[in-house]
Amino acid sequence: MTASRTAAVAGRVLRQLARDRRFVVLVLVAPLGIVFFTKTLFDAAGTPFFDVTPFAVPFGCFIVHFATFILTALVLVRERTAETMERMFINGYRRLEIITGYLLAYTTLATVVSLLVLTELQLLFDLGYGPGRLASIFLVMWLLAVISMAMGILVSNAARTEGQVIPFIPAIVLPSLIFSGIIVAVDHMPLWAQVLSRISPMYYANEVLQELIAGSGLGGDVASLVMLPAGAVVVLLLATQTLRETR
C-alpha cells in the first residue's frame, strides 16, 4: 500500500463530496431531523418519572451508525455498478488503498455529522454535560461511525447493485438497535440474544455511553471501548479480503 495512492482516493472522494452539495446537505440534515423528531416523541411520551437521558445520547449515536453504514455501502456499490472500481484496479490501485482512501474521506463527513448530532443532543435535551464528557461521547460516536463505515464497505462487497444493499438495512441495522441494550437491557434478554448483541458495535458503544452518562469517565468500561476500534480493524480486514479484483 502506498500513501500517495490512498491519498489520491481520499482526495478524489472528498472532491466529489464537495461538488455534490445536495447529497452533503441531506447527509447532514437527515440525522439532525431524526434527532429533532425523537425529541418531540420523548416530549409527548414523557412523564416527570421518565428520564430520557439514558436514551437520548445512545439514540443519537444509533442515527450516526445508521447513516454512515448505509451511505458507505451505497457509494461503494455505485463504484462497482459504474465500473469505476474495476478501472481503479486496472489503473494500479490496490484493495487496501481504495478502502482506506474511502474510509479517510468518509471519516471527515462522519466527524462533521457526529459533531452536529452531539451539539443538537446537548441543546435539545438540555444535557448540561461539560467539555470533557462531551469529548468522550464524541469519541465513542466517532469510533462507532468508523466501524459502521467499515461494515458498509464489507456489505457492499456482497452486493452487485444498489438494490441488493437494501435487504442488509433491516438485517443489520435493526438488530443493531434491538440488541444494543438501548431499548431493553441486554441482561434481560434470552441467552441467544445476549450472544448476538456481542457482535453488534452498537452494544459496545451503548455500554461505554451508559458509563459516561452515569458520570464515569472513559475508563468506566475500557473493554467495550477497545472493542470499537478493534472491531473496525477486523471488519476492515474482512472487507479488504472480500473485495474482489477478478471475477
Partner: protein, 288 residues
C-alpha cells in the same frame, strides 16, 4: 518476432454460455491488431481477461510475457485499458479524471503527463470542464487519455470508436497510428468493419471462436469479386474467388480485344468478406 500478447486455448464460460471457446492468438509487439465480431462474439471478455479483470476457465494467457492473473501488478503497470463505455467520474473535470487514474501508477510529474495526454486527444481547452457537461465523443477522448496517460506498452481499446462521428473516428485512428510509431502495441475491438483496414492484422471472432486471423488486405483478396467485360453494349460477367490471381486469367482470355470498351471489377467490401466468413461458419456449425 516479439509478441505483446499470446493466447493458447483460452476458454471462458458464463453459466451455460460459452464466451470464449479455445482462443489462440499471437499479437506482435508494435502492431495495431483488430478484434472484429458481432455483439456477443467474446471481444470484451477477451479484453477483460487480458487486463486481469476476468479469470479464464482454461488456457494460457501471456501479456508481455507475463500471466495477467499471476503477475497482475506487473502486467497492469505496462498496459492501458479503455473500456467500451467511458468509465469516468462524471462530477470531476476531464483533467481530474485523467490525473486520478494516472496516480494509480504512482507517477512523477502527473500534471505534465495529464497535460500531454489532453494535448494528444486535443481537449486541453475543456480540461477544466466537469465530465457531465462533455459530449459523448469528448468523454470517449477523456477515457482514452486516462488509458494512455502512463505511456503503457500495450493499449487495449474496447470499441473506442463506437457511437462517435466519422471525423472524430478518423482523428482517433490517426492518434492510434502515432502511438504505434512510438512502439505501443494496440489491441482494438470493433464491430465497424470499415475500420479494420487501419489494422495491421485482424482476428474475426464469432461465438467465442477465431474464424480468421490475417491482415485485412488478405481478407479482401480472398473475397469474391465480379468482373464485367463490356463489348460494345454487351456485358460479360465473370465471378471470381480470389480475384488478384484470377483476374489476369480472365484478361488473357479477352487478349485485349479492341472490341472491349470497358472493364468493371466489383470487389467485395471487407464487410461482405467478414459477413460471408461468419455466414459460412454459421452454416458449418448448424450442419455440425
Amino acid at each position: 518476432m516479439d509478441l505483446a500478447v499470446r493466447l493458447r486455448g483460452v476458454t471462458k464460460r458464463y453459466n451455460r454460455i460459452t464466451a470464449l471457446a479455445g482462443i489462440d492468438l499471437e499479437i506482435p509487439a508494435g502492431s495495431v491488431y483488430g478484434i472484429v465480431g458481432p455483439n456477443g462474439a467474446g471481444k470484451t471478455t477477451l479484453m477483460r481477461i487480458l487486463v486481469g479483470a476476468l479469470a479464464p476457465d482454461g488456457g494460457d494467457v501471456q501479456v508481455l510475457g507475463l500471466d495477467p492473473r499471476q503477475e497482475r501488478r506487473r502486467v497492469r503497470s505496462q498496459i492501458g485499458y479503455m473500456p467500451q463505455a467511458p468509465v469516468l467520474y462524471e462530477d470531476l473535470t476531464a483533467a481530474e479524471n485523467v490525473a486520478f487514474f494516472a496516480r494509480g501508477h504512482v507517477l512523477d510529474a502527473v500534471r505534465e503527463r495529464v497535460q500531454r495526454s489532453l494535448e494528444f486527444i486535443d481537449l486541453v481547452d475543456r480540461a477544466g470542464d466537469v465530465v457531465r457537461t462533455l459530449s459523448g465523443g469528448m468523454r470517449q477522448r477523456v477515457s482514452l487519455a486516462a488509458a494512455l496517460v502512463h505511456q503503457p506498452r500495450v493499449l487495449l481499446l474496447d470499441e473506442p470508436t463506437a457511437g462517435i462521428d466519422p471525423e472524430l473516428r478518423h482523428s482517433f485512428w490517426q492518434r492510434f497510428r502515432d502511438l504505434t510509431a512510438h512502439g505501443t502495441t494496440l489491441l482494438i475491438s470493433t464491430h465497424q468493419m470499415d475500420e479494420v483496414v487501419h489494422c495491421d492484422r485482424v482476428a474475426i471472432l464469432r461465438a467465442g471462436k477465431v474464424l480468421a486471423d490475417e491482415p485485412p488486405q488478405r481478407l479482401l483478396t480472398e473475397g469474391r469479386a465480379v468482373v464485367t467485360v463490356w463489348v460494345g453494349e454487351t456485358p460479360h460477367r465473370h465471378e471470381m474467388a480470389g480475384y488478384p490471381d484470377e483476374l489476369p486469367r480472365i484478361l488473357r482470355r479477352w487478349r485485349l480485344d479492341p472490341a472491349v470498351t470497358r472493364i468493371e471489377v466489383e470487389g467485395q467490401t471487407l464487410e461482405d468478406a467478414v459477413l460471408a466468413l461468419i455466414e459460412r461458419e454459421k452454416a458449418g456449425s448448424d450442419d455440425g
